[in-house]
Amino acid sequence: MELKVVVSLLLQGVSLGMLYFLIASGLSLIFGLMGVLNLAHGSLFMWGAYVAMTVYGLTGSFALGLVGGLLAGAALGVVLETTLIRRLYGNPVGQILLTLGLILVLDETVKLIWGPTLLPYPKPAFLAGSAEVLGRAFPHYRIFLIVLGALVWLVIHLVLNRTKVGLIIRAGVEDREMVTTLGIDVKKVFTGVFALGGALAALGGAAAGPFLLVYPQLGLNNLFPAIIVVVIGGLGSFTGSVIGGLLVGVTQSFVGYYEPQLAVAVNVALMALVLLVRPHGLLGHRGV
C-alpha cells in the first residue's frame, strides 16, 4: 500500500474515531461514576444534531449551532437525571429499562417536532472544501472533526486531572461510598456528570450532523458504535474511550477501504477479541 493512501486512511480513521470518542466518552463517564448505562445517550446525540441544525438554520452561524446543540444536550442530561434516573440509582436493570423507554420518548418527540424524514444540515462554507494531503484530497470537515475531538479531549482531560471536581469524579468512579464519607455530596456531582455526558454526546451529534445527515434513527444507529467503543475501551475510563474510539475509527477506515461490507463486522470482531483477552475492556477495571 502506498504511503499516501495509508496517511489518508489514517486521517479518515482518526476523524471517525474522534466522533466515536465524543459519543462514547459521556456514556463511559456516566457509567463509571453512577453505574448507569444510559441507553438514551444516542438520543441525546441526535437531539444535539437536530437542535444544532435548527439553530444554524435560524441564525446562519454554524458555531452558534454547535453551542445550541451542546446546551440542549446538557439541559436534557440535567432534566433526565434529576427527574427520572435519580430514582433508580442502585438498580442497574431498572435503569436500563428506564433509559430504554427514554429512547422511545426522545426519538418520537424528534419525529413530532421535525418530522420523520431526512433533513439537510449543510456544512458551513468555510468547512465545505478539502485540503490536499500528500496529493490526496482530504475534506476540511474531517480536519474540523479531528481538531474538535482533540480539543474536547484536552479540556476534559484537564478537568479530570487538574480540578477538584475531576478528582471527585475519578475517585467516585472507583468508590462512590468512600467519597461520601469524605463529606462530599456525590449526588450533586452526578447531576453535573450527566450534564457533561449529555453535552458531549450532543456536541458530537451537532458536529456529526453535516457528516452523517440528520434523521430520526440517527440516535439508535450511533448507539452501537458508541457501545462497541466503550466495551473496547473499558466502561468508566475516559482515556479508554479515546483509545477505543480511535481504534474503532481507524480499523473501520482501513477495512472499509478494501472491503466496505466488512467494516462494521470487523469492529464487532475487535470487540470480541478484546473481551476474550480482557473482559472488562482495555482500561476498565474489575471494580466498576
Binding site: 457509567f31 453505574g35 438498580n91 431498572g94 436500563i96 462512590r176 461510598e177 466495551v231 473481551l275
Partner: protein, 366 residues
C-alpha cells in the same frame, strides 16, 4: 403460577383459563374482520418470543440485548431453506433449531464471560453484527428490501389456519416453558437470578445453567421466527434489529417480568393495540413511551405482576412468608452489581452503598 392455597382460588384460575382458551379458539368466528385474526396471530407469535425472552430476563436475571438475533436467524433460516434450498417446512424447522442452538451456545460462551451491563452490550453488538450482515448480503437475503415469497405449506394456507397453528404453537410453548421453570433446572435459574454468588457457592455450575437458558430461549425464539416468517411470507432485517429486542423488553416489562404469561399480555398491548392506535393517533408511540417509563418507575412488576401482588396482599396477612414463586420478579433483582462484579452476599445490596441515593430510591423497590 402463584400457588394459591385456597381451593376456590385454584378453581377460579381453571375457570378463567378455560374461558380464555374458549374465547381464543372461537375468535375467528367472533371477529368482525379477518384483519383482527391476523393481528392476533402475530401477537401470539410475539407473545412466545417475549416469553422466551422472559426465561432469560425474568427467570435467570440475564439481560440480553441480542435476543432478536435468534428470531431473525429463525426467520431467514426458514425462508432461505424453504424458498431457495427446497426444504419442506418441518425439515427447515429442524435445521433452524440445530443452527440456533449452535449459535446460541457460541454467543453464550463468548458473552457470558462478562456480566450485567457488559453482557447486555456484548449481546447487543452481536445482534447488530448479524443485522448488518443480513443487510449487506443482498444476494442471499434480499438486503434491506427483505426476503420475500417464502412458500407457505398448504395446511397453513389461510388466515384462520395460520391463527390456529400460531395459537396451538403458543400454548405448546407456554406449557413447555412452564414445565421448564418448575423443573429443578428452573429453580437453579431462579437461584441465579436472586443471587448468583450464592447459587455458585451452593455448588451449582452457574455458567452452564446460564448457557442452557440461553440455548433454550434462543431455540424457542428461532422456532418462533421460522413460523413467523412462514406465516407472513417474508423476513426483514428489522427482525434482527435492536428495536425488535426493545419491543420484547417492553412487552415483558409491561406484562410482568418473570411471569411467562406476562409476555403474552405485553405482546397483545404492544402489537395489535399499538398497530390499531398508531393508525389513528400519530403520537401513540410517544404516549406509549411515557406510559412505559411510568410503569418502570412506579409498577416495576408490570401489569400481571402488580395484579398478582395485589391479590396476594389481599389474601395473606401481612408478613406471612412468601414462597419463591409467589412473587413475580421485580426488575430490581439484578444478576450483578453495576458493571458485573458478582453480587456479594447480602450486605452491600441492602446498604446505600449500592447507590448513595438509596434514600430516595423507594420507587424502585418491590
Amino acid at each position: 403460577m402463584a400457588k394459591v392455597s385456597r381451593r376456590t382460588g385454584t378453581e377460579r384460575t381453571w375457570l378463567l383459563t378455560g374461558g380464555l382458551l374458549g374465547l381464543l379458539f372461537a375468535f375467528p368466528v367472533l371477529s368482525p374482520s379477518v384483519y383482527y385474526v391476523s393481528l392476533l396471530t402475530s401477537a401470539a407469535l410475539y407473545g412466545v418470543l417475549a416469553m422466551s425472552y422472559d426465561l432469560l430476563m425474568g427467570y435467570t436475571g440475564i439481560l440480553s440485548f441480542g435476543h432478536a438475533l435468534f428470531f431473525g436467524v429463525g426467520a431467514y433460516g426458514a425462508g432461505i431453506l424453504m424458498r431457495d434450498a427446497g426444504f419442506d417446512f418441518f425439515s427447515a424447522m429442524a435445521v433452524v433449531l440445530a443452527l440456533s442452538a449452535v449459535l446460541a451456545a457460541v454467543i453464550g460462551l463468548l458473552s457470558l464471560r462478562v456480566k450485567g451491563v457488559y453482557f447486555a452490550m456484548v449481546t447487543m453488538a452481536f445482534a447488530e453484527f448479524f443485522h448488518i450482515l443480513v443487510e449487506k448480503l443482498y444476494h442471499i437475503t434480499g438486503g434491506s428490501d427483505g426476503f420475500t415469497r417464502i412458500p407457505t405449506p398448504v395446511w397453513l394456507g389461510g388466515t384462520v389456519q395460520k391463527y390456529y397453528v400460531a395459537l396451538v404453537f403458543a400454548i405448546a410453548m407456554y406449557l413447555l416453558a412452564r414445565r421448564l421453570v418448575s423443573s429443578p433446572v428452573g429453580s437453579v435459574w431462579l437461584a441465579i437470578r436472586e443471587n448468583e454468588t450464592r447459587a455458585a457457592m451452593l455448588g451449582y455450575d452457574t455458567f452452564s445453567y446460564k448457557l442452557a437458558v440461553m440455548v433454550i430461549s434462543g431455540m424457542m425464539a428461532a422456532l418462533t421466527g421460522g413460523l413467523y416468517a412462514v406465516v407472513v411470507n417474508f423476513a426483514h432485517p428489522g427482525f434482527i434489529s435492536v428495536s425488535t429486542t426493545i419491543n420484547l423488553l417492553l412487552m415483558v416489562v409491561i406484562g410482568g417480568v418473570g411471569t411467562l404469561s406476562g409476555g403474552f399480555i405485553g405482546a397483545l398491548i404492544v402489537q395489535p393495540l399499538g398497530r390499531i392506535l398508531s393508525s389513528y393517533f400519530r403520537a401513540w408511540l410517544l404516549v406509549f413511551g411515557v406510559v412505559y417509563v411510568l410503569i418502570v418507575l412506579f409498577f416495576p412488576a408490570g401489569i400481571l405482576g402488580s395484579v398478582r401482588m395485589w391479590r396476594l396482599r389481599r389474601r395473606r396477612p401481612p408478613g406471612a412468608p412468601r414462597g419463591p414463586e409467589a412473587g413475580p420478579a421485580v426488575p430490581t433483582a439484578s444478576p450483578a452489581g453495576p458493571g458485573g462484579a458478582p453480587m456479594t452476599p447480602a450486605a452491600p445490596r441492602a446498604t446505600p452503598g449500592a447507590g448513595p441515593a438509596a434514600g430516595d430510591g423507594g420507587a424502585g423497590g418491590p
